[in-house]
Amino acid sequence: MTVNSSPDFAAAPRKAGKALAISPIARILYLTSLWVPLIGLALFFLYPLVLIVQRSFVQRDGMIGIANYVDVLSMRHIPGVIWNSLVMSGLTTLICVVLGFMIAYFLQRTHARLRWVISVALLLPLLAPSLVQALGLIFLFGRNGLISQATGWNLQIYGLWGLVISNSMYALPQAVMIIQASLRQSDTRQYDAAMMLGATPWQRFVDITLPNARFGLLSAAFVCFTVTITDFGNAAVIGGNYRVLATEIYAQVVGQMNFNMGAVIGILLLIPTLMAFYIEKVAAQRHTSGATEGAMPVAPDRQPLRDISLGLFSYGAALFLIAVVVTVVYASFVTLWPYRLDLTLRNYNITAQGGYAPLWTSLIVSTQAAVIGTLLLFMLVVSQRRLGRGMAKAVYLLAIVPVGVPGLVLGLAYILSFNVAGALPGLLYGTTLLIALCNFYHYHSQGFLTMVTGIRAVPPQLEETVTCIGGNSLHGLRDAILPVMLPTLVAVFFFLFMRSMVTLSAVIFLITPQLSVGAVSVLRLDQAGFATQAAAFSVCIMAVVMIALGMMKATLTFLERKPRN
C-alpha cells in the first residue's frame, strides 16, 4: 500500500461494499446506522418542512396557488429588506470566517499561552441566551450604557453594526468549531516535503494549509450566512430600524396572524441553502483533502510575528466576548440597572412562572438532544462515507438544509406535524423528547458539517485495512475512526447541549402549561421589565451548563485513561 495513494471517491464504496458482504452482522450494522438517522431526518425535519411548504401555497381564499408569493414579492419594502438581509449576513460571514480562521489556526497550530482562555470565551455566546447577550451589548454600548456614561460619547449600537456585532458573536464560535475540525486533519509530512523543496512559510500556508482547510472554510461560511439570515432574536432587540427578512416573518406570523405569508418568507429564506449544492461538490472531491493512511498531525510550532498578530485578534475577540458576559453577570447583581448600582442577591429570587423549575427541564431536554444528536450524526457521517455518488449527494443536502429554516418556522411546523389526535406521533406532543428533537434538528447542519469535516481526517485506507485483516466494521470503528473523531464528537455533543439550553425561537411554540424551559423564563422576565432578573436567570443557566460540561469533560478524561491501566 503506497503512502500517497488517493483512491477516487467512486472506488471507495465499491471496495467497502465487498468487505461488507462478508459479514452479515456488519451489514445490518451498516444499514441501521444509515437508515435510522435518515428516517429521523425524514420524520423530524423533512415532513414538517413539507407541511410548511404546503401552507405557503394556501391562499387567503383557501385555494392552492402562488398568490402568497406574488403578494410577498410585490410588497414595496421587500426588496430593501432582502438587500438588508444580504448585506448584514454577508458582512457577518466575512468577519466570522476571517476571524474564525485566525482563531482556529491560533488554537490548533501555535504554542501560545492561555489558549484555553480563548476556548472558554468562545463557549460563552453558545451557552448564554442571545436575548441576554444583546442586552449585555446594550448595557455596555447603549446610549445609556456603561461606556456612554463613562465617556459622554453618544454611541449608536442600534442598527446594522449592532446587528453585525451581535450576530458575529453568535456565529463566530460555530465557525471556529468547524474550521478547527478541518485544521486537525493536516498531514505534517506534506509540510516536511514542502520545506525540503524550499517552500517559504507563506507558500506552505497558501499551497497546503488553505487548500486543506478549504472545505472547512466553505462550510463555516455557509453556516454563518444561513444562521444569521434566519436569526430573529438579535434583530428584534438591537437591529433598530434595520429590517431583515427574519423580522418580516415575525411581523407576518406573530404580528398580523398571516400564517401562510410567513411560510412564504420562510421558504424564501431557504434559497441561500442552495449553496449546499456547491459545498457537497467540494466535499465529494476527496483527493484534495489529502487524508491518507499514516498521516501525522501537524505539530504546533513557533513563529513570533505570526503568533503575535494572530494572538492580537484572538485574544481581542475573546476579551470582547468575555466583557459582554461579565457585564451581564454584573447586571445580575445590581439593584436597578443602570440607576442604582449597589449590589444585591435579590434578582436571584426568580418571580417568573415556575421559578427555577424550567431550568431543570432545560437540562433534561439538552441532555436528550446532545445524546440523541451526537449518536445519530455519528452514525450518519460514518455510514454515508460508503454511499454511491448520487445517494451521498441526497444525504448531504438533506443534512445541511435545516440550518436555513428559521426557528419560528420550525417550531410552528412541529405543531402542524405532531399535534395530531390519536395518532402515534401525537404522543410526542408536549414532551421533553419532542423539544429535544426539535432542538437537535434545528442545529443538525452545524453538527453534521463539523463531523463531516472531522471524519475527512480518517483515511479510508486505514478503515479498510482494519476491516480486511479480519476485523469487522465495529473494529474499524473503534480502532480507526473513534480515536481520530473523538475531539470532534465531544465538540458536537457540547455544541448541541449548549444550544438546547438557550435556544428560544422554536421552543416557544412547544412548551405547555406543565412544561416550560429556561430560555422562556428569561424572555418572560425581560418582557415584564425585570432585565436584571433576566440576567440573573441567564447566569444560572450559564453556571449549570458550565458545571455540566465540566463534569462531562472529567468523565471523559477518566474514561480515556482507563484502558491504558
Binding site: 410588497m75 414595496r76 419594502h77 446594550i138 447603549g142 446610549r143 445609556n144 442600534y158 434583530a235 428584534a236 432587540v237 433598530g240 430600524n241 429590517r243 423580522t247 415575525y250 411581523a251 406570523v253 406573530v254 404580528g255 398580523q256 396572524m257 400564517f259 436597578l336 440597572w337 443602570p338 440607576y339 442604582r340 418571580t351 417568573a352 412562572q353 410552528l412 405543531i415 402542524l416 399535534n419 395530531v420 389526535a421 390519536g422 401525537g426 404522543l427 406532543y429 408536549g430 416557544i508 411554540f509 412548551i511 405547555t512 402549561p513 406543565q514 418572560r524 425581560d526 418582557q527 415584564a528 421589565g529 425585570f530 432585565a531
Partner: protein
C-alpha cells in the same frame, strides 16, 4: 383493526393517566395576561371553583395567536383568556371559537362583547407613554401630554414606538390616531411624528423597557407596562395621551372542540363574576364591567372617573378589517 385501535387508545389513555391525572374538571387555558395578574386571578378562581384544575400557558398575544392557528386541526386549549380583541377578530382566530353566552354577559356594553357571543371582554389596557424623567431633564424638553406634543423637535431621535405590523400595541396606537383625528389629519400626525422616532420596535413592551433603562426619553407602550417599570423604581412617569389614547380589550372565549367544555364554560362564567370583578379592580385600570368600583390603579394613573373622557371609542371591527391596508400605507409612509 378497530379492536387494536381501541386497545391502543385505552393503553394511551392509561399512559396519560400516569403522566398527569386527568380529572373531568381540568382545563387548559391560553392566556396573554401578565404573570402577576394570572397569579392573582387564579388564587381567587381556585377558591370559587375548588374542583377545577386550571392549567395556564402564558405567552404574548402574537405568539399565542400563531400557536392557535397552527394547532387548529387538534386544539389543545379549552379557553382563551385575556387575548387582544384586535387579534381575535382575525378570521384565522375567530373561526376557532365557539359560542358561549356567559352569565351576565348582557350587562356588558355592546362594544365589549361579540354580537355572536364568541368573545367578551371584561377588562382591557390603554396605550400610554413611558417618560424617563431623568432623560427628559437632560434633553430639556417639556413633559409630553399628547401625541401632538411629541412632534416637538426637542424629541428628535428620543422616541420609540412599536411597529404596527409586528406588534398589536403599535397597531392600536396607529388606529387610535387614525380613528380619533380622521384619515387625513391622522396620517399627517403620523408623518409629523416620524422624524422624532428613533425606532419602531418589534415588541409592544420594548419601547417602555428602553425608556426605563434611559436609552431613549419616551417609549410609546401600554399602561400596565409603564406601571411595572414605575413599581420597580425606575425614574419613569406614565402619561395617558390626552388626544388619542388607544385601548385594547382583553377578551375571553371558548375554543371549539374543547374536550372539557363544561368546566371551560364554568371558568368563563367566573371571569365575569362578582369575585372576578373584585380582583380585577385590584389589578386593572380599565374594567368594562358596569358597577365595578374605580381601581386604585386607575387613580394612580390619573384616570378620570369616567374613562370615556380619555378613551377614544375605538371601532375594533373596522380597524381589523382595514388592518392590512393600514399597515401597508404606514410602511410606505415611514419607509422603515
Amino acid at each position: 383493526m378497530r379492536q387494536t385501535k381501541t386497545r391502543l387508545s385505552a393503553f394511551l389513555a392509561s399512559c396519560s393517566l400516569l403522566a398527569t391525572p386527568a380529572f373531568a374538571g381540568e382545563i387548559t387555558v391560553y392566556s396573554a395576561l401578565e404573570d402577576e395578574e394570572i397569579a392573582a386571578y387564579l388564587a381567587v378562581a381556585q377558591q370559587e371553583l375548588p374542583d377545577l384544575t386550571i392549567n395556564v400557558l402564558r405567552l404574548s398575544t402574537g405568539n399565542l395567536g400563531a400557536r392557535l392557528i397552527a394547532e387548529a386541526a387538534n386544539p389543545q386549549a379549552d379557553v382563551l383568556w385575556g387575548f387582544a380583541v384586535t387579534n381575535i377578530l382575525s378570521p384565522a382566530i375567530y373561526d376557532l371559537l365557539d359560542v358561549h353566552e356567559a352569565e351576565g354577559v348582557g350587562d356588558l356594553p355592546a362594544q365589549f362583547r361579540d354580537p355572536e357571543n364568541r368573545w367578551f371582554a371584561p377588562i382591557g389596557y390603554m396605550g400610554a407613554f413611558c417618560v424617563n424623567t431623568m432623560r427628559l431633564e437632560q434633553i430639556g424638553a417639556p413633559m409630553p401630554q399628547s401625541w401632538a406634543d411629541l412632534t416637538d423637535p426637542a424629541f428628535a431621535g428620543e422616541i420609540v414606538m412599536p411597529d404596527p405590523g409586528s406588534s398589536g400595541t403599535g397597531f392600536l396606537q396607529i388606529s387610535a390616531i387614525l380613528q380619533g383625528a380622521g384619515e387625513e389629519d391622522g396620517w399627517q400626525l403620523i408623518q409629523d411624528l416620524d422624524p422624532n422616532m428613533a425606532q419602531y420596535t418589534t415588541s409592544g413592551s420594548r419601547p417602555c423597557r428602553m425608556a426605563q433603562a434611559g436609552e431613549f426619553t419616551v417609549g410609546a407602550s401600554l399602561s400596565f407596562v409603564a406601571m411595572q417599570g414605575i413599581e420597580q423604581g425606575f425614574p419613569l412617569e406614565m402619561v395617558i395621551p390626552s388626544d388619542f389614547a388607544g385601548f385594547e380589550l382583553e377578551a375571553n372565549a371558548l375554543i371549539s372542540g374543547s374536550s372539557n367544555e363544561e368546566a371551560a364554560r364554568r371558568f368563563l362564567d367566573w371571569t365575569l363574576s362578582e369575585s372576578a370583578a373584585q380582583v380585577y379592580s385590584e389589578n386593572k385600570a380599565l374594567i368594562t364591567m358596569p358597577g365595578v368600583p374605580r381601581s386604585p390603579l386607575a387613580e394612580a394613573a390619573g384616570l378620570p372617573e369616567d374613562l370615556s373622557e380619555v378613551l377614544f371609542p375605538m371601532d375594533f371591527a373596522t380597524s381589523g378589517a382595514q388592518r392590512d391596508a393600514i399597515i401597508a400605507r404606514w410602511r410606505d409612509l415611514v419607509g422603515r
